[in-house]
């Protein structure tokens, strides 16, 4: 066990996978000598050589298209897209090409690709650097979207993502990179994909969250406890596909639910959770489904982001509102 940051946990997972599987390749902009703009791939080129960890020309669609070709020829590509806003340059490669490879070939070809990319607000970046674009990608059949909320999961989920034979968009929260540390095992371990995690048990209300909002939900639960409201916190971990069974089981007990996300409210993960509950588990509820999300605007420039990103207090207020419905 070593205390490690989210970013160190990710480097750990990459190191283990490069060590174990000579077919894994890390490439992208500045991932080599520079170790990535956030130092996520620090030391890996030195350790594994330029054949395994290499810089590409500056072109996201090139990087992602290259991944498909490498995957087709027996490699396990781990491309890095420097910021998730730039995945838009390569949407065709992701949604139009790699995610449907298995389907197209009737299961005879796969895209064992894990795309890593940082996302999320709160660090005052330039425009297109903080956007939460998971809402786009959760609608892509054949693509998994994984969004870890803590260092332990970051390592375990990345290992599972890399070893999975379907394409994974693994989104790393910029704010969490260095803002928290966990005791994590030094050796290899994995956290299963497609399974939500009950972070904290409770009886009165279920808070469903993912990514950095899991922390906000946990803080909200602490706050609610002061008023004798016992909240159960669920971390989705994989946001596509969504583990609805864990949510349904929880609301059978709590009869109240608040769905929390950092991204804009429109469509996407929270909407999918809410509609799944409405469709299949509405009778478990004693009140309407609560939602906390960012407003449906373009992601703001740095100065407005504090007000824009959902915070603990909104979650507390929404939880109280539905409990008193």
């Amino acid at each position: 066990m070593t205390k490690k940051s989210y970013i160190q946990a990710i480097t750990d997972a990459l190191d283990i996978e490069l060590q174990e599987d000579p077919k894994t390749l890390i490439f992208g902009e500045d991932v080599g000598k520079n170790g990535g703009v956030f130092r996520t791939t620090q030391g890996l080129q030195e350790k594994y050589g330029e054949d395994r960890v290499f810089d590409t020309p500056l072109a996201e669609s090139g990087i992602l298209g290259l991944s498909i070709g490498l995957g087709l020829t027996g490699w396990r590509p781990l491309p890095e897209i420097q910021f998730s806003g730039f995945t838009l340059e390569g949407v065709d490669s992701i949604a139009g090409q790699m995610a449907r490879m298995r389907f197209h070939f009737n299961g005879k070809q796969t895209s064992p690709i894990t795309i890593r990319s940082p996302y999320g607000g709160g660090t005052h970046t330039a425009e297109m650097h903080s956007d939460n674009f998971e809402n786009f990608f959760v609608g892509v059949p054949g693509l998994r979207v994984v969004m870890p909320s803590n260092p332990y999961d970051a390592k375990g989920l990345l290992i599972s993502s890399i070893e999975n034979n379907d394409p994974v968009l693994y989104l790393e929260n910029l704010k969490l990179y260095r803002s928290m540390k966990d005791d994590i095992p030094d050796e290899k371990y994995s956290v299963p994909l497609d399974q939500a995690n009950v972070v904290q048990e409770g009886n009165d209300v279920t808070l469903v969250a993912y990514g950095a909002q899991v922390q906000e939900a946990q803080k909200a639960a602490e706050e609610l406890a002061k008023d004798n409201i016992s909240a159960e916190v669920i971390d989705l971990r994989t946001v596509s596909p969504i583990d609805t069974q864990t949510i349904f089981k929880s609301i059978e007990k709590t009869h109240h639910v608040v769905v929390v996300q950092e991204a804009q409210k429109m469509a996407g993960v929270g909407a999918q959770v809410a509609s799944a509950i409405a469709e299949e588990a509405i009778m478990s509820l004693d009140a309407p489904i609560g939602r906390v999300a960012a407003p449906n605007s373009v992601y703001p420039f740095a100065l407005a982001e504090e007000a824009w990103i959902p915070r603990k207090d909104e979650i507390v207020a929404k939880a109280k509102e539905i409990i008193n419905y």
């Binding site: 298209g65 290259l66 070709g69």
Partner: protein, 366 residues
């Protein structure tokens, strides 16, 4: 009087236009213009070239016929491009990796897919993608294939394989940023890729001149540091010779090559039936029809006593009959099931999907 500029841009532009003439072995009058190259072919080989083109022309005519009868799905006509398509694909080896576009079905079949599978693909049945050929399915997104080609080629190189990647796009395709990125990546990695641009004058209705101010499309490879060459795309001997030379050069570890074949799409863009007369005059097209790749080979072979009209007719009928058989076979396939589609979306269907699968299986069993 205007001041003299520090730089003469017109001169630079002119220099970009002073390009070598396209490579040819036989011209449109069936005159041999490169005797050494011509003499390198045996009579049997010359006949084989012609047979392949007759096959492709027959495939074109028969599929257009099927289309009119409503028996095909999406299909892109290929008449006019026989020399470009057959010539280049005949330089391929089984171990090479093909990245075809939607108009490259004939090459896919030559590389190992069956005609029946091509018909399934056309109709949108997934069985059409189960071919044994080392190939991606035909690409719909213009430009995407070039990126993937860079990846395939790098993978082949890393594997130490005795193989290269063959990729096709059109003149329009070279306007996509992807095509430059693909060539640039392949160049940067010195990956074994052959980029073939079939310059057939039109991207749907947009003429080649409107795609770019570049005098030739080969210039686009120059920026990526890739040698590129224009070939008479109506001369199968030139197309084959250049593709073969390119393959050898690439296999020797010299990095990628781009070939621009100057060819023509005689008819509509696709079987969905756009009307070429809206954007192209008969007069402008006539010179291309006169350059038909079959005419010149027919003349050469006939003069050598290796070919006759009767033989060609017989051959065409034989090919067309085989396409009719293939269509019958294609008709016999079971329709696709939604439950099967759900089952192959992930390696292991998720619990959510299990529910959907069961639902559809029940529906489908009724």
């Amino acid at each position: 009087m205007a001041k003299k500029s520090i730089v003469d841009f017109e001169k630079i532009k002119q220099e970009l236009s002073d390009l070598p003439t396209p490579i040819q072995v036989i011209d449109q009058n069936a005159k041999v213009v490169n005797k050494e190259a011509f003499d390198s072919f045996s009579d049997d080989q010359l006949v084989e070239f012609m047979e392949k083109m007759v096959w492709e022309r027959a495939l074109h005519e028969q599929t257009m016929n099927f289309s009119r009868q409503g028996r095909m799905g999406f299909y892109a006509p290929t008449a006019g491009e026989e020399a470009s398509e057959m010539g280049t694909v005949m330089a391929m080896k089984d171990q090479d990796f093909l990245l075809p576009a939607y108009r490259d079905i004939p090459q896919l079949i030559q590389h190992g897919a069956t005609v029946t599978e091509a018909f399934w693909w056309s109709r949108g049945h997934v069985k059409g993608n189960e071919f044994k050929a080392r190939s991606l399915m035909p690409q719909i997104i213009i430009g995407a294939a070039y990126l993937e080609t860079a990846g395939v080629a790098l993978g082949l190189k890393k594997n130490g394989e005795d193989a290269i990647a063959f990729s096709y796009t059109g003149d329009g395709g070279t306007s996509q940023g992807d095509s430059y990125e693909g060539m640039n990546f392949a160049g940067a990695f010195q990956a074994p890729a052959l980029f073939i641009v079939q310059d057939n004058n039109y991207a749907i209705s947009v003429p080649r001149e409107k795609q770019t101010a570049a005098k030739t499309l080969t210039l686009k490879a120059a920026a990526a540091g890739i040698p590129a060459v224009q070939v008479d795309g109506m001369d199968i001997l030139a197309c084959y010779s250049v593709a073969k030379a390119a393959r050898e050069y690439i296999l020797a570890g010299n990095g990628p090559v781009m070939i621009e074949t100057l060819t023509d799409r005689y008819g509509a863009h696709s079987s969905a039936g756009d009307d070429p007369s809206r954007y192209r005059s008969k007069e402008a097209q006539q010179p291309w029809l006169d350059r038909d790749p079959l005419i010149r080979m027919r003349k050469i072979l006939t003069d050598k006593g290796l070919w006759s009209e009767d033989h060609e007719e017989e051959l065409t009928k034989k090919y067309k009959d085989s396409f009719k058989d293939a269509l019958k076979e294609a008709d016999a396939v079971e329709p696709e099931k939604v439950s099967d589609m759900l089952k192959r979306t992930f390696e292991v269907p998720t619990p959510e999907m299990q529910v959907e699968i069961a639902k559809f299986e029940e529906k489908e069993s009724k």
